[in-house]
C-alpha cells in the first residue's frame, strides 16, 4: 500500500507540484507500478545463468566528440541557477 504521505513525500523530492484532485488517481497509478515489480519477481528463471536478456557483450562507442547541450538547456530543469552554475541552497546535504 502506498500512503498519501508517501506520495506527497515523493512528489516533494521529485519537485513535482500535485494538486489535491490528482492524488487519488496517482495513488492508484503508483500501486500498479509497484505491483508490476511483483510480476517480475514471480517469474521463474530456473537455474539459467544469464548476464543480460539480449546476451550482449562489449557494446562500445568510438571516442568521437559530439556537440554538448547549450548551458541554458542543461540548467533548464533547475530552479536555483546562478552564473551558469547549479546552485544548492540547502546545505544540509553538503559539508
Amino acid at each position: 500500500m502506498v500512503t498519501r504521505e508517501e506520495l506527497l513525500d515523493l512528489a516533494l523530492l521529485s519537485k513535482l507540484d500535485i494538486s489535491d484532485s490528482d492524488i487519488d488517481k496517482l495513488l492508484g497509478d503508483m500501486e500498479e507500478i509497484i505491483k508490476f515489480a511483483d510480476t517480475i519477481n514471480a517469474a521463474s528463471t530456473g537455474d539459467a545463468e544469464f548476464d543480460n536478456i539480449n546476451d550482449l557483450q562489449n557494446v562500445y562507442r568510438e571516442d568521437i566528440v559530439k556537440d554538448s547541450f547549450l548551458q541554458d538547456d542543461i540548467l533548464r530543469n533547475c530552479k536555483t541557477v546562478e552564473n551558469g552554475f547549479f546552485r544548492v541552497d540547502n546545505h544540509n546535504h553538503v559539508e
Binding site: N52, R61, K66, G84, F86, V88, H93
Partner: protein, 473 residues
C-alpha cells in the same frame, strides 16, 4: 618505542580521451560551467550510458605497463552515495570485477610495490562552496578515470614519492594521461597507519583524501604518523576515519568516519553490458605501448654511456627523450648530445611545464648534423655550443650559421704549421718552458686558438707545440 609507517595509495588518474566515459561530451579542461554536458552526463532519467572503448584500451595499457593481469571478464557497478557532485546519486565504477589486477612496480631500492587493482570509473562534478551555498559545474562529471590501488607496501614518504613519479612518468609515456597534479588529473588518497618496528600486524589506518601535490603528501603523512603515535603512546586507540589535510595549518583533520564497501550498496550497473577481453585484443593493445621510462634509463646508462643523473633528466620528459634519440642517429658518441641538451637547451626553459613541452625551433635532424661535425672533429665544442645557441635563438640551420671555412675544419698540416708559428713568435715562452715553467705553453696555445678561430683541438695543439720545442732543442 620505535614505530614504522605503513602506507597504501589509491591514485586517480584522469584519462586523456577526447570524450567522456559514457557520452560524446568533450573532456577538455575548464570551459564555461555546464557547457560540456548532455542529458547522459547530468544523469537525466531515461538516458543510457554507452562505454567509450578508448577508456578500456587506455586502462589495459596502464595495466600492462604496471605488470598487471588483464581480466577476461569485467563489469561495471553502481557505487551509491548522495552528494551534489554526483547528479545520479551514484557513480558508475567497478567493484568486484576490475579490468586489471595483481600488478607491481619495482623501486630503485629493489623493493617491490604491489598493485592490487586498476579499475575504470567516471569522475564527479566540481563543487564550489561559497556563502553557505554550493555551486555545481558538471563539466568534469563523466570524465574517465582509472583508479590505481596499491598494496600497503610503502614504508617511507620517499617510497611514496618515487612510486607516484614513476606512475606519472609511465602514464605520460604511454600517453593515457598528462597526470597534472595541479590541474587535478592525478589525485591521491593515502592510507596511513603506524606499528611498532618488527611487528607484522597492521595498525588501524586513516585515509588522507585528495592529496594534490608531492609536498602536501609528505607534510600530511609526517603529521598524521606523528599524531597516530601520540594517540597510541597516550594509551588510546587510533580511530579508522577519513581525514583531510589542512594546507594552511599543516595538520590533518577528521572529515567523516570511514566508509566500508557495504555503505555504498554496490550493485551491477544494469545499463551496461559485460566487458570481455580476448587475448588477441590484449596483444593488439600491448603493441601500442612504447619503450617504458625505466627501460630507457637503463639503456641510456648501459648502452649509451650516460651518467645516471643525465639519463634520468632526459627520460623525465618524453619529448626530450624522443629528441635525444633522433638526434644521436648514426653517431658513436652520445654524451655530446646529452651535454648540449642539458647544459644549453634546458637553460632556455624556466618551468617544468616548459621542459615537458620542449618547444624549440631546432629539428632533431639539424641537431644531428651539428653533432656529426662535432664528432668528426670538424668543429670544436665551443663552436658547437655557439652554433646551437644561435640555432635556438633564430631557428637558422647549421649551414646558415657556419661558414664554408668553418665547415672545412682544420687539417693536421694546417694545425702543425700554425703551432710552428706560435713557437717561432714566442721565444720568451719557449725559454720559460725550457726553464721548467710548464704553464708557458699556454700563451703559445692562445696564439694557436686565436689564429684558428678556436677550431683547434687544444690538447692536440699542446702536444704538437711541446714536440716542436723538444725537436728544436
Amino acid at each position: 618505542m620505535e614505530y614504522e609507517i605503513v602506507m597504501g595509495l589509491e591514485t586517480h588518474v584522469e584519462l586523456s580521451t577526447n570524450t567522456k566515459i559514457f557520452c560524446g561530451c568533450t573532456t577538455e579542461f575548464g570551459g564555461e560551467p555546464n557547457t560540456h554536458c548532455c542529458p547522459i552526463c547530468i544523469g537525466l532519467p531515461g538516458t543510457m550510458p554507452k562505454l567509450n572503448y578508448q577508456v578500456v584500451r587506455y586502462a589495459i595499457m596502464a595495466g600492462l605497463s604496471l605488470n598487471c593481469e588483464i581480466a577476461e571478464i569485467a563489469k561495471m557497478d553502481r557505487k551509491n552515495y548522495v552528494y551534489p557532485d554526483l547528479p545520479k546519486a551514484y557513480q558508475i565504477s567497478q567493484y568486484d570485477k576490475p579490468l586489471c589486477e595483481h600488478g607491481h612496480i619495482e623501486l630503485s631500492s629493489g623493493r617491490k610495490i604491489g598493485i592490487t587493482r586498476i579499475h575504470i570509473e567516471e569522475d564527479a562534478g566540481k563543487l564550489i562552496h561559497e556563502r553557505g551555498q554550493t555551486f555545481i559545474d558538471y563539466n568534469r562529471g563523466g570524465v574517465p578515470l582509472i583508479e590505481i590501488v596499491s598494496e600497503p607496501d610503502f614504508r617511507s614518504v620517499d617510497e611514496v614519492t618515487e612510486y607516484l613519479e614513476y606512475l606519472q612518468l609511465t602514464m605520460r609515456y604511454i600517453g593515457v594521461s598528462d597526470c597534472k597534479m595541479q590541474e587535478g588529473s592525478m589525485r591521491c588518497d593515502v592510507n596511513v597507519s603506524v606499528r611498532p618496528v618488527g611487528s607484522d600486524k597492521f595498525g588501524t589506518r586513516t585515509e588522507l583524501k585528495n592529496m594534490n601535490s608531492f609536498t602536501n603528501i609528505a607534510k600530511a603523512v609526517k603529521y598524521e604518523a606523528a599524531r597516530q603515535i601520540d594517540v597510541i603512546e597516550s594509551g588510546e586507540k587510533v580511530v579508522q576515519e577519513t581525514r583531510r589535510f589542512n594546507d594552511a595549518a599543516g595538520t590533518t583533520e577528521s572529515m567523516r568516519g570511514k566508509e566500508d564497501a557495504h555503505d555504498y550498496r554496490y550493485f551491477r550497473e544494469p545499463d551496461l553490458v559485460t566487458i570481455s577481453v580476448s587475448n588477441d585484443e590484449i596483444e593488439q593493445i600491448r603493441k601500442l605501448i612504447p619503450e617504458l621510462p625505466n627501460k630507457k634509463i637503463s639503456k641510456y646508462i648501459k648502452e649509451y654511456g650516460l651518467s645516471e643523473v643525465d639519463a634520468k633528466l632526459l627520460v623525465k620528459y618524453k619529448r626530450v627523450a624522443d629528441f635525444f634519440e633522433k638526434s644521436i642517429d648514426g653517431l658513436k658518441v652520445y654524451k655530446n648530445c646529452s651535454n648540449l641538451i642539458i647544459s644549453l637547451i634546458f637553460s632556455k626553459f624556466e618551468t617544468e611545464e616548459q621542459k615537458e613541452q620542449f618547444n624549440i625551433n631546432v629539428e632533431p635532424e639539424d641537431m644531428n648534423e651539428l653533432l656529426k661535425l662535432l664528432e668528426a672533429g670538424t668543429i670544436r665544442n665551443n663552436v658547437a655550443k655557439k652554433t646551437l645557441g644561435e640555432m635556438l635563438a633564430t631557428g637558422k640551420k647549421v649551414k646558415d650559421i657556419l661558414s664554408e671555412d668553418d665547415l672545412k675544419g682544420l687539417s693536421q698540416e694546417e694545425l702543425t704549421s700554425i703551432c710552428s708559428k706560435a713557437v717561432e713568435s714566442n721565444p720568451k715562452a719557449v725559454a720559460d718552458y725550457l726553464g721548467g715553467k710548464d704553464k708557458a705553453v699556454k700563451s703559445m696555445l692562445g696564439f694557436v686558438m686565436k689564429n684558428t678561430q678556436g677550431k683547434a683541438d687544444a690538447k692536440l695543439a699542446e702536444k704538437i707545440i711541446i714536440d716542436i720545442i723538444k725537436n728544436n732543442n
